[in-house]
Amino acid sequence: MSMISLRHIYKYYDSKFQRTFVLKDIDLEIQEGEFVTIMGPSGAGKSTLLNIVGMLDEPSEGEYFFIDQHVTKLSEKKKVEFHRNYVGFIFQAFHLIDELTVYENIETPLVYKGMKVSDRKSVVADMLDRFNMVAKKDLFPAQLSGGQQQLVAIARAIAGKPKLLLADEPTGNLHSDQGKQIMELLKNLNGEGITIIQVTHNEEFAKYGSRIIRLADGLISSDSKTK
């Protein structure tokens, strides 16, 4: 049983005169534990596909099964449950909350989950320790470098122990050194069992994954294992 199963997924936008397709007839199976990279030129539909997998968006046609559950058109309530328990996100622009400290940012998903203060404390402490950020826990995002911000974002994403990690151009705003650092981290996390799907332009970083899916004009043009 695949973790993620997309069948005949279409995504289009209708305007007055035309229908613009972003994704056309996508069929995709992703197993638990894989590290998949989605690549393609700008406008090929990579981010849209990722959003659909992450239930931030709904397909116009087709079906999506997540761990054998039919989740194509899920109610708000169930979506929230999905986000709280199964999925973590990291973005190119980090998307940390500027008014919260490092500690509070990492804590955010746990607060929404309704975790008790004492439990939260230990989870966040764990994360800070692992990412070597204990000394920075009271700083605000503005006081950190790009690489450090992305680390915090990743800590936040995995604090709730999700099964799936979705990364949209995670190294896009970072220098190559920082980028490498992040990719190494993701590889480690994947080694620990988290399924990772990333979108990137960077050929070199794509190689950290085990599988590369290329999109072009809304269609899958190739799907192969990394050499």
Binding site: G54, L56, V80, H83, F89, F91, I97, Y112
Partner: protein, 781 residues
């Protein structure tokens, strides 16, 4: 969760200090104004509610004669024949006399302006708090009178006042009485005052008399009744009218007026109570609502804009597992906190401004329980309204956008813009309308105060001479000798003070004329011209008179030759001349018909003196010296004609000041709203401004771009506001018989002021954004 929300709210508020200060400060100012007006409104509505029985107390009036002065003897009938009447008392006001109370022992005297004459029932009906009394009833015998604690203190300091004798008098008469009780001061917020209360059982203590023929006289008084609870006043009124012998008491038809209604009533009765203006009250109410709306709009704009600024945060929180309820809870917390802070601030501001309520409203506001219990529900509702309205904004936003929209930063401008534009236009329209109204009011006031009165009011003094004084001619001659005195003349009555009116006895065309009895050189002194006819001769004394033009018109005379003024007394007076029209009262009234009767022997109470230009203060002192030679024990009571006429508009002056003050509040609120909007706009248009600059835009071109949007709003606001202001001002001017023109340029100025304010505000704030290095603007991105 709540702690988390509060933490975040505070940090957000502190982050945009300028913006937060603007909005919360602005709302506080607006809400404070709302509170103040609310206090004034309920103070006015609650007049007379200090008397515990106020809901059952009524005043009788004659519906046909429009008067509260009714035959005294009606009182006994009311007291005995009607079981529905729990209690009744008469009440006569000596309010217009200035009486002096003297204590013979130590001869202390004090002036008391509020004296009434009534019987013992008064104290029960009006729930008067009796501090000390001689016997069981406050009035103990026909010589009794009752005084308040404060009067007792003024006269007797700490000595016992009970049993002491009191003289009440003025230049014309003196009455005596014995203090039989001391009472607490009557409630402050009432339509009448009473500091000394005389026993009306004593016929000597009744002032008003009406005589039909020489010996057929009776006293007049107001009648107050307290009905039993549950009595229907309408039914009772008809029963009263059908059972009382109206002819016996010379009453046309009886009506009942609630004590609660007296103060704001629009009934034009002959009466002596303090009156407020229901119309003015409604104007203030409208202003209060407008200010609340303006403040709420600002706050709403703030909330919505803040939401947009936090769209990204909402998206992030959603991807991190926040559900709908948790997001709303945060927004609600934020809104409530902001509102609570504002409201607390506004209470503080209102409290600080309370001592100035006299200047603002013409009446000092005292905080009492009843006031608070009236106002609090209104305030609570308003606050709830604001919180709910502002909490809806996040609902609205959340429903319109997907998470991915938030994260990619798409800002759908169109929908929200229309709402925002509409609100801004409303604010501008309100400001324009208010400014235009203020300008109109001041224009009218300026007009009435400076207009030609038809007589010479410059440096013209009016001196009141007691009519017990008999040496009028000598006094006048001495005054005329003074080098700075141009001319002088005596009269009874004058412009601004008419003491006698008579009917013309012209049958179907019967009308009332005002009488001024004049002495020699009157027209010359007053600068009134004789248009037609001849001057008075010695033979005309008490036989001839002048009419003014209005009187001639009213009579309908083609020519005055051979016409007479028949006032019913010995054949009347021959009309020998016509004077130009002149004002005897305020510009509210049309020019009234006046008859000037020539009778120097009798015209002795008012001396009008025309002074030459110079040091008026010194001149008055010198006249006082002359006065002292003739009347050493009498202070010279004088006034200036121009001041006297200007004083007729005191109420309007006050209204003008109040409206100006609140208009300023409204304008400030609008400015704050504009500032806040432009602050945000320049914030999120920073990138666009930077790009345009990089591509060659000059500073002026950027400012024009930003100003353009707002200027359109000003135009629309102007178009909307002008007809409304025009209509309102027209209505107000109708109450004046003489009014200034409503010129178009008044409204144009209002529009220009609004335009200027907008441009200055917009440019000032966007100056910074427009002059930054493009590099900084783009680095922001």
């Amino acid at each position: 969760m709540i702690l988390h929300n509060l933490k975040l709210t505070f940090r957000n508020l502190l982050k945009n200090k300028l913006y937060t200060t603007l909005i919360i400060g602005g709302f506080s100012i607006g809400f404070a104004a709302f509170i103040l007006i609310g206090l004034f409104y309920f103070t006015e509505k609650n007049v007379n509610s200090g008397f515990s029985n106020h809901r059952q107390i009524y005043r009788l009036y004659d519906v046909k004669k429009n008067s509260c002065n009714i035959n005294y003897t009606l009182n006994s009938v009311l007291a005995t024949d009607y079981p529905e009447i729990k209690n009744t008392c008469p009440m006569e006001y000596y309010g217009n006399f200035v009486l002096t109370a003297k204590d013979e022992q130590a001869t202390t005297s004090t002036e008391v302006g509020n004296i009434i004459s009534t019987n013992n029932n008064f104290f029960d009906i009006f729930s008067v708090d009796i501090v000390e009394k001689l016997s069981t009833m406050p009035f103990d015998g026909k010589e009794s009178l009752v005084i308040t604690e404060s009067v007792a203190k003024r006269l007797f300091k700490n000595k016992n006042a009970i049993g002491q004798t009191l003289d009440i008098g003025n230049t014309y008469f003196t009455k005596s009485g014995k203090i039989s009780a001391i009472i607490k001061n009557l409630p402050e917020n009432s339509s009448f005052k009473a500091e000394v209360i005389l026993n009306s059982d004593n016929e000597n203590f009744r002032m008003s008399k009406y005589c039909k023929k020489d010996n057929d006289c009776y006293n007049l008084t107001n009648h107050y009744i307290q009905l039993n609870e549950g009595t229907d006043d309408k039914n009772f009124t008809s029963r009263l009218n059908s059972t009382i012998n109206l002819n016996q008491f010379e009453v046309g038809q009886l009506g009942l007026q609630k004590l609660d209604d007296i103060y704001l009533s629009s009934l034009a009765l002959q009466e002596s109570h303090n009156k407020g203006s229901a119309r003015l009250l409604n104007i203030f109410l409208a202003i209060a609502v407008l200010i609340l709306l303006l403040s709420s709009i600002n706050y709403l704009n703030y909330t919505v804009s803040m939401q947009y600024a936090k769209l990204k945060t909402i998206g992030i929180n959603k991807t991190n597992g926040a559900d709908w309820r948790q997001l709303i809870a945060y927004s609600f917390t934020e809104v409530s906190l902001g509102t609570v802070i504002s409201v607390i601030l506004s209470f503080i501001i209102a409290f600080l401004l309370l001592p100035y309520s006299e200047i603002l409203f013409g009446k000092a506001i005292h905080i009492e329980m009843s006031l608070i219990s009236n106002l609090l529900p209104v305030l609570g509702t308003a606050i709830l309204f604001v919180i709910l309205l502002n909490s809806l904004a996040p609902f609205y936003l959340l429903s319109r956008f997907k998470v991915t929209d938030f994260l990619s930063g798409i800002r759908k401008r169109n929908g929200r813009q229309i709402g925002k534009q509409a609100m801004l236009t409303f604010q501008l329209a309100t400001s324009i309308a208010l400014v235009a109204s203020v300008l109109c009011v001041f224009k009218q006031l300026n007009f009435v105060k400076n207009a030609d009165l038809g007589f010479d009011k410059e440096s013209m003094v009016r001196i009141d001479v007691p009519y017990t004084f008999k040496k009028q001619d000598a006094l006048r001659q001495e005054i005329n000798k003074l080098p700075f005195v141009s001319k002088s003349a005596f009269s009874n009555g004058c412009p601004g003070h008419i003491s006698m009116r008579m009917g013309t006895n012209t049958g179907s065309n019967d009308f009332i004329v005002s009488i001024i009895t004049i002495g020699d050189k009157y027209l010359e002194t007053m600068g009134i011209h004789l248009i037609n006819g001849r001057e008075f001769l010695k033979s005309d004394v008490n036989k001839a008179c002048y009419l003014n033009e209005a009187a001639v018109k009213r009579y309908g005379f083609e020519s005055i030759k051979g016409q007479r003024f028949n006032n019913g007394k010995d054949g009347g007076y021959e009309i020998i001349g016509v004077t130009n029209d002149f004002h005897i009262s305020s510009f509210y009234n049309a020019i009234e018909p006046v008859v000037l009767i020539y009778n120097p022997d009798v015209a002795t109470s008012i001396l009008s003196v025309k002074l030459m230009p110079g040091n008026i203060g010194q001149f008055i002192d010198k006249i006082k010296k002359v006065w002292k030679e003739f009347l050493p024990y009498e202070t010279m009571s004088f006034t200036f004609y121009d001041e006297q006429f200007q004083a007729m508009y005191n109420k309007d002056d006050r209204m003008a000041k109040s409206i100006t003050f609140f208009s300023l509040v409204a304008i400030i609120l609008t400015c704050m709203g504009i500032l806040a909007q432009i602050f945000l706009i320049s914030l999120y248009r920073t990138k666009e401004i930077g790009i345009r600059k990089v591509n060659g835009a000059k500073l002026t071109e950027i400012l024009t771009l930003l100003n353009k949007d707002f200027i359109i709003n000003v135009f629309i606001a102007f178009v909307v506001a002008t007809p409304i202001a025009f209509y309102a001002m027209n209505r107000w001017l109708q109450s004046f018989a003489f009014k200034t023109e409503l010129n178009w340029w008044v409204f144009a100025i209002a529009g220009l002021i609004a335009m200027l304010i907008v441009m200055v505000t917009v440019s000032w704030q966007s100056w910074r954004a427009a002059t930054r290095n493009p590099v900084e603007a783009l680095r922001y991105e």
